[in-house]
């Protein structure tokens, strides 16, 4: 924040107004960096996925464009940007155009509440690693994520094609079903922390020295359910019924091409990053084991630890895709409703009982 003696009275504005203007500018810059960072991560995630999948299938993956194929995403991007953008004649023009935006925008704005590192001071000025710290942070993330399903539903409907419609229906049924198990699993962490504020949740884990995934056994069960539901939520293999190539063409984005098509892919990968980041915050302790009150240099490692954890999750996403066959749709639904949901519910009840019986922050089963 600015030194009031210097800024006060400048352009006839007082110190408080300057503070507000600077806060807005800082938030805008952070948002710019985050959005572009996420899209860059998306681009190189596609390359990583193709290379890792290649290695897992005993082949090389893309390695022709630039050193180690590092320029491949740029070539892909240019190709997609100049590709013809076809809207089917029978499609609903406006909804067909809006659907990819409704998928991508929610995915991009969730990251605003993710705390990447501890609050710290750089050169004596306070600095935070998040755009917004709101006391309903987790609810914000889930609310926005649940809006993202509009993209899939509308794309399926507007394309006016049976494959797209079936894909859209499958995708939205799946996302709605798994949201429940995911929310209940996340609530286990929220009950343990006694807060919805993502920064507070991480802080509690860091100060107690133990991430919630290690609060055995309930924390671990909730963590596993959260990750499984998260994979389903992002429509990734083995839960990629919505775009099952063998039976549905490409599912809800069958009738999309060019840049709109790539917007759906951006949304999918950014959603994977969001789910990884939320799982890190809720269960893996964010920047744990970096202490929040450490000296500045060590605190600065916090975001790096956080990004490494996200990277591990992303690798797991690719690994799952290379390993598991796709689930049948009825099996997928019964897994969500008859297995994950009841376990998550009982798990939450037992966790709440323990938290109510023991003093806050004490976990009787630890160690």
């Amino acid at each position: 924040m600015p030194d009031e003696t210097i800024m006060d009275g400048l352009f006839g504005l007082d110190g408080a107004t300057w503070d507000m203007i600077l806060a807005v500018i800082t938030a805008l810059i952070k948002a710019f960096v985050i959005v572009n960072g996420l899209l860059l991560a998306f681009a190189y995630m596609t390359l990583t996925e193709r290379k890792v999948l290649g290695r897992m299938q005993a082949r090389f993956g893309p390695n022709r464009v630039g050193p180690f194929g590092l320029l491949q995403p740029i070539a892909d991007g240019i190709k997609l940007a100049f590709k013809e953008d076809v809207t089917p004649r029978q499609a609903n023009f406006w909804v067909h155009m809006v659907a990819p935006m409704m998928a991508l925008i929610p995915a991009l704005i969730i990251f605003a509440v993710i705390p990447l590192g501890p609050e710290m001071r750089i050169l004596g000025q306070p600095w935070t690693w998040y755009v917004a710290k709101i006391n309903v942070g987790y609810l914000y993330a889930t609310a926005i994520a649940s809006v993202g399903v509009y993209g899939l539903v509308l794309a399926g409907w507007a394309s006016n094609s049976k494959y797209a419609l079936l894909g859209g229906l499958r995708a939205s049924a799946q996302v709605i079903s798994y949201e429940l198990a995911q929310g209940l699993a996340a609530m286990t962490a929220l009950v343990l922390a006694g807060s919805l504020n993502l920064y507070e949740i991480v802080n509690q884990q860091v100060s107690s020295g133990l991430p919630y995934a290690l609060y055995l056994p309930f924390g671990l069960i909730a963590f596993v359910i959260y990750v499984v539901a998260g994979v389903a939520e992002s429509n990734r293999a083995p839960f990629d019924m919505a775009e099952a190539e063998g039976e549905l063409g490409a599912g809800f984005h069958t009738e999309y091409s060019g840049f709109k098509w790539s917007m759906f892919f951006m949304a999918e990968y950014v959603n994977m990053i969001n789910i990884s980041a939320l799982a890190t915050v809720l269960f893996l302790g964010g920047w744990w084991p970096i202490p929040t009150d450490a000296p500045g240099i060590i605190q600065g490692l916090g975001p790096i630890v956080f990004l490494i954890k996200i990277g591990a999750f992303m690798f797991m996403f690719i690994w799952l895709r290379a390993t598991f066959p796709r689930l049948r749709f009825d099996r997928l639904m019964s897994l969500g409703w008859k297995v994950l949901l009841p376990i998550a519910l009982v798990n939450l009840l037992l966790t709440s009982a323990v938290v109510a019986l023991w003093p806050l922050g004490v976990w009787p089963f630890a160690q």
């Binding site: 909804v95 006391n135 649940s146 509009y150 409907w157 709605i176």
Partner: protein
């Protein structure tokens, strides 16, 4: 600043509401309703009720309207027959309802304008009355706090809360009974 945001979103929400009613296409109507819900979330944020804003988005926009779209998609009523043939007899009732609603709205507006009780309606000019309707007995500063909402919900409003959940349970049971009956006959 606050007023500008309010004015912009009020205009959008009124326009969206009008389009919602005037559209022939059920899908467009549903989408304009979603837009309207988002504007309401913005109003809640302006009043400092973050929790309500997020719940508005998660429950109405994120869950209920998605189910509505589902129904529209499954019935495939993209270009339906004009409804005035089917439901034309309802038109007088619609006019009556609109008039009653307008009178009630005007009455509440007048009452809050000259009334002594500022907490009847929250006003933008006075943020301290924020979300007073929804959470009477909860201070405005706490209206955004989940703890306060939970405490009110589980003490003062416990009975209505439980009754509502029984109502929802009855709806679920009814739906499954209906589905079962059809499956037996088929």
């Amino acid at each position: 600043m606050e007023f500008v945001v309010f004015a912009v979103f009020a205009a959008i929400s009124v326009t969206a509401a009008l389009f919602m009613v005037l559209q022939r296409n059920a899908m467009y109507s549903a989408l304009f309703l979603v837009l309207n819900f988002f504007c309401f979330a913005v109003f809640f944020i302006l009043l400092g009720a973050y929790f309500l804003a997020v719940v508005q988005v998660a429950v109405y926009a994120g869950a209920i309207m998605v189910l509505m779209l589902f129904v529209i998609m499954l019935l495939n009523v993209a270009y339906p027959e004009p409804l005035d043939k089917v439901l034309g007899f309802l038109r007088p009732f619609g006019v009556v309802t609109a008039v009653v609603f307008a009178v009630v709205l005007a009455g509440v507006g007048l009452a809050s304008k000259m009334g002594d009780n500022a907490s009847i309606l929250p006003t933008i000019a006075d943020p301290s009355s924020g979300a007073g309707i929804m959470l009477k007995g909860v201070g405005a500063a706490e209206a955004g706090h989940v703890q306060e909402v939970a405490a009110t919900l589980f003490s003062r409003y416990l009975f209505p809360f439980e009754v509502t959940s029984v109502l929802l349970l009855a709806a679920i049971l009814g739906a499954s009974v209906l589905v079962r009956k059809r499956a037996e006959h088929a």
